[in-house]
Symmetry: D2
Subunit: 293 residues, 4 copies
Amino acid sequence: MGKQDSKISSKNGGKAKGNQGAPRLGRKDYEAALAPMLLELMQVSRWLAHTNKRLLVIFEGRDTAGKSGVIHAIASALDPRRCEVVALSKPSDTEMTQWYFQRYVPHLPAGGHVALFDRSWYNRAGVEKVMGFCSDEEHERFLREAPLFELSLVNDGMLIFKYWLTVDQAEQEARFAERLADPLKRWKLSPVDVVARTKYAEYGKARNAMLKATHTAHAPWTLVDFNDQRLGRLTLIRHLLDHLPDQAVPEQRFEMPPLKGKPARESFSDAHRPISAFTSPLFSPLDIANSND
Amino acid sequence: MGKQDSKISSKNGGKAKGNQGAPRLGRKDYEAALAPMLLELMQVSRWLAHTNKRLLVIFEGRDTAGKSGVIHAIASALDPRRCEVVALSKPSDTEMTQWYFQRYVPHLPAGGHVALFDRSWYNRAGVEKVMGFCSDEEHERFLREAPLFELSLVNDGMLIFKYWLTVDQAEQEARFAERLADPLKRWKLSPVDVVARTKYAEYGKARNAMLKATHTAHAPWTLVDFNDQRLGRLTLIRHLLDHLPDQAVPEQRFEMPPLKGKPARESFSDAHRPISAFTSPLFSPLDIANSND
Amino acid sequence: MGKQDSKISSKNGGKAKGNQGAPRLGRKDYEAALAPMLLELMQVSRWLAHTNKRLLVIFEGRDTAGKSGVIHAIASALDPRRCEVVALSKPSDTEMTQWYFQRYVPHLPAGGHVALFDRSWYNRAGVEKVMGFCSDEEHERFLREAPLFELSLVNDGMLIFKYWLTVDQAEQEARFAERLADPLKRWKLSPVDVVARTKYAEYGKARNAMLKATHTAHAPWTLVDFNDQRLGRLTLIRHLLDHLPDQAVPEQRFEMPPLKGKPARESFSDAHRPISAFTSPLFSPLDIANSND
Amino acid sequence: MGKQDSKISSKNGGKAKGNQGAPRLGRKDYEAALAPMLLELMQVSRWLAHTNKRLLVIFEGRDTAGKSGVIHAIASALDPRRCEVVALSKPSDTEMTQWYFQRYVPHLPAGGHVALFDRSWYNRAGVEKVMGFCSDEEHERFLREAPLFELSLVNDGMLIFKYWLTVDQAEQEARFAERLADPLKRWKLSPVDVVARTKYAEYGKARNAMLKATHTAHAPWTLVDFNDQRLGRLTLIRHLLDHLPDQAVPEQRFEMPPLKGKPARESFSDAHRPISAFTSPLFSPLDIANSND
C-alpha cells in the first residue's frame, strides 16, 4: 500500500495532502478514474430502463463524510428523468404519527428508475438514537423491522445497496471548520450539527448496533472509507458497479444529417436584444478580464 | 470591446476559443467572477427567508443554450431546503385535459423559497407551437392568458424574472455535435431534438411572437446571449442580482468550541471494515495512480 | 304560491313544518321530484366523459345552509371515479405563504370530471373577511383577482357554476340548536361557529360585497333559498341542469346472459364461517326484533 | 333462531323478503338498531383522536356484497376530517412497476385517523388471481408478504380489522339484475363484472386460499354474512365495536348563548335575489306538489 501512496503523493505534489497530512487523490487522477465508471453507470441506467428493474441506493454516514458529493457524482451520469435524489427533511407532525416507513415509501423507485437516498429510514438508528429523538423502544423496534421491510422490497425484485461512509474525527473536525469558514457552505451547519460533533463516539456505537441488526444477506451494508473523499467516491462507485449485472443494452442512436444552407444567426426586433457582459452596462467586462491578474 | 476580447483570449491561450472561433471566457476568469456573485445570491436567499418573499425565475431558450448550466450555478449557492429546480416532463394524458397552467401551479414557490423553472408554461409558445403539439387557437389563447396569469402572481407579491437564452445556429450545431459525440451527454438527445434543430428559424419566429405578447411591465423578458456559456451565466446572474433588493440579513452564526480530548478514529467490529481503493481487491489503485501517465 | 303551499302541507300533515312554522316539502315529495333529476345528472356526467369537458360547481353560503346535503345529493348520481368533492381544511402554514389560489388549483377538474367545491377560494370573501383572518388589503385584492382567475378557467373551456345558499337567521339558529342536541352532528360545531352565528349581519354584508365584485358574465353567482333544504336542493339542481347542454350520450350497455347451472352457495372451511346477527353471540337478534315495539 | 325469524318477518309484512325469499331486516328495525352503534362509533373516533391511535379497516368481499354500504354507514358517524374512505382505482402503468404495497401506503391512517379501505392490497388474492391479472408467482408471493407487511403495521401500533363480506350466488345474481335495471346504479357495472359473475366458484376458492395464508393472529379475517345487507351491516359494526377498547373520552362542549335582538332575515340588493322552486320559473312547484298523487 505504501508504494501506491507514495506514487500518488508524488504525482500531486503537496496539494493533495489531506486534512490530517495523509496523501490524497488529486483531482486529475480522480477525474481520469471516474470517467470510465460514469460510462458504466450510464449503461446500468440503460439496462434498468430496458429491464424495468429498480435500483435503490442508500447513503448513510457521519456528517461531512461526503454523502451528497458521491450522490452528485453518480446522478451526473444518469438520465434525470429516471433518477431521483431523495433527501427528506425532518418529519412533519403528521408524519410523526404514521407508520415509521410511510413517508419513505412514495420515494421508492419505479420500474427503470434509480433512487439515491441521502439519508433514509436509518435516521432512527443514527441521529434519532444519538440525539434522543426517539425512544429506546422505537429504536429497538426499528432495528427489528428494517430487515423485514427491506426483505419485502427485495422479494419484490428491487435491487438494494446500503453504504455507510466512514470518516475519522480529526478529518470530520477539519471539514466542520472548513464549512464554518466558507460562507457558501455555512448554511449546511445547524445547531444539531454543533451538538452532534461532540457525540462522535455515540454515533459510532449506534452504527455498530445498526450493523449488527440490519446487515443481512438480502440487504448487506458496505462501509466505505471517506477520509479521502475522492478516493471514497471511486471506491463506492466501483463497488456498486461490480455488484450490478454487466449487461450491455444498445444505445438508441440518432443521426444528425447536415443542415441545409448556412447556419442562421439569432435575429431580434429592436425592442428585444440580448444582453451580454460585453454589451450591457450591468457590469464591467474589464472586471472579469482583470480577475486573474 | 475588442480590447477586452483580446485580453481574455490572450489570458486563456488557444483553449478558450469558442466553437465559432470567437474568444471565450476561460474557466479561471469565470470562477473568479462567479464567486462573489454566489455570495450575493446566498444573501438574496437569506433575505427571502427573512421576509418570506418568493422568487420565481423562468429559464427558456433554444436547445443547448445552457439553461441547466446556469440553473445549476445559481442553485449551488442556495440552501436546497428553500430552492426547487422545476423541470417537468411532458404532460400526462390527464394533465393534457386540465387547465393549461394547472400542472405548473403546485411548483410555484412558497414563502422564503426560490423556484428555478427549467422551461415553463412557455413551452406552448415554443416547442409546442413549432412542433405542432398545440393548435393555433391554443397558442393564441396562451399568449393572451400568460400575462394575466403572471399578473395575478405579481399582484400576490411574487418576484418574477423571465430569461430567454440566445445562441446562434452555428454554435448550436457545434453543441449538438458535441452531445452526439459524448456518451455521457447523448441521453439528452431525443428524436424531437433532431427535428427541432432544422427549425431554427421557426423557433426564432415563435420567440418573437412570444416576446411581443408576453413582455409586460409586470413580468418582462430579458434575452441573454449564451453563445459563450460562461459569459452568459455571469451576465444573467449579474442581471438578476442587480434587479433584486440589496438588503443584507445577518447570518445565523454558530460557535464550534474545541472538542475535549483527542479526536477519535473510526472503530469497527471485525465483521465490518470499510473498503477503500487501497485495501479492497475491487480495483487496483495502481490503475488510478497511473491514470495521468 | 299559497295554493301549492297548502297542498304540500296538507299532504305531509304536521310533520313537514319548518323550524319557523312554514310548510316544508315532505320527504316523499322530495324524493319523487329528485329521482328524475338524478337521471339527468347522470346523463350530464356521461356527456362530460364523452366530450372530455370539465364541470366546476362551487357551493358557498351560511353555516348550516345545507351545502354538504346538496353536494351529497348530486354526487350520489355521478360516477365517483369522475366526481370529486373538494372540502379543504384550513390552509397549512406553508399554504398561507403561497399564491392565494395555489392550494385550490390541484383540485380543479380534469377532462370528463366534475368537481364539487364545498367552500372554495371565496372563503376569503366570507369567513376570512368577517372573522379577521385576512387583511383588508388581501380581501380587496381577492375581490379583484377572483374574476380574472375564473376568466382564465372559462377561457380554457371549463364550465363554472357558483351557488350561494341563503338561510334566515331564525332558521340558522334552529339548525345550530339541532346540531348541539344531536350527538352525531355535534362534531360539526367548532368555536369559530359559535362566534360566527353572532355575526349574521356581517356575513350578509360580506356576501353582498362579494356579489358586487365577482358576479360576472363569465362566472355568475346564483343565490338559492335554502330555508327549506329539500326545496333548496331541488331548486339548485334544477337550475344547474337547465344551464347545462341537454345532449344525450348513449349509455354503454352490458348483457347479463343467464348463468349455466344452479347458483352456488358460499362454501367455507370449518376454520372460517361468516358471523351474522343470528348465529353470533355478539348481540341478540331479539333486541333488533323488539326495536320497533 | 326460528322464533326471531318469524318475529321479524311478521313485523315487516311482505316487504322484508329477501331476493331468495328469506325474511329480511326491515328499515325501521335496522335504523333503530344502528343508531346506538353510531354513537359508539363516534366515541371510538374521539378515543382515537385523544390517544392518537390509528384504525385501519379493510373491506373485501364479492361484488354486490355491500362493501360501500357498510363503509358509508360507518363513515356517516365519524368526523370526516379524521376519516378517509380509500377506494383506489386500478393501478397506473407506473404503479404496476412499483413495490406491490407502494400505492396503498400513502393512504394508511395517520394518528387519530380511521382509514376505511374499500378493497385493498387483497385485490391480488381476489380479482387479480381469478381474472388472471397477476402471475401465479406474484399471487403466491403476495400471500407470503401480506402477513409480514401487516405485522409491521401492527407492531407500529396500528389497529387492523379485515372483513370479508359473503353472499350466495342467487342473491348476487339478483343484485346484479337490480343494478342492470336501475339507471342510477348501472355505472357500477363494468365488463369485468360481467365476466366475474360467471366465476363465483373461483372467487370462493381464491378467498379460501387467501384465508389460509393471511388469517393471522395479529391481523385475523372476519367473514360476515351479507345475504341480508342491513343485518350484515349491524353484524359487522357490532363486531368492530366489540373488539375496540370501550373507553369514553369526554366530548368538547360548546355553549350557545341566546342571540341579542331579533333574528335577522337575509337581505339582498335588487340585483341578487335567491331563486326557489316557488318563486322561480325554473320548474313548477305544482309538479312537486302533485308528485305523490
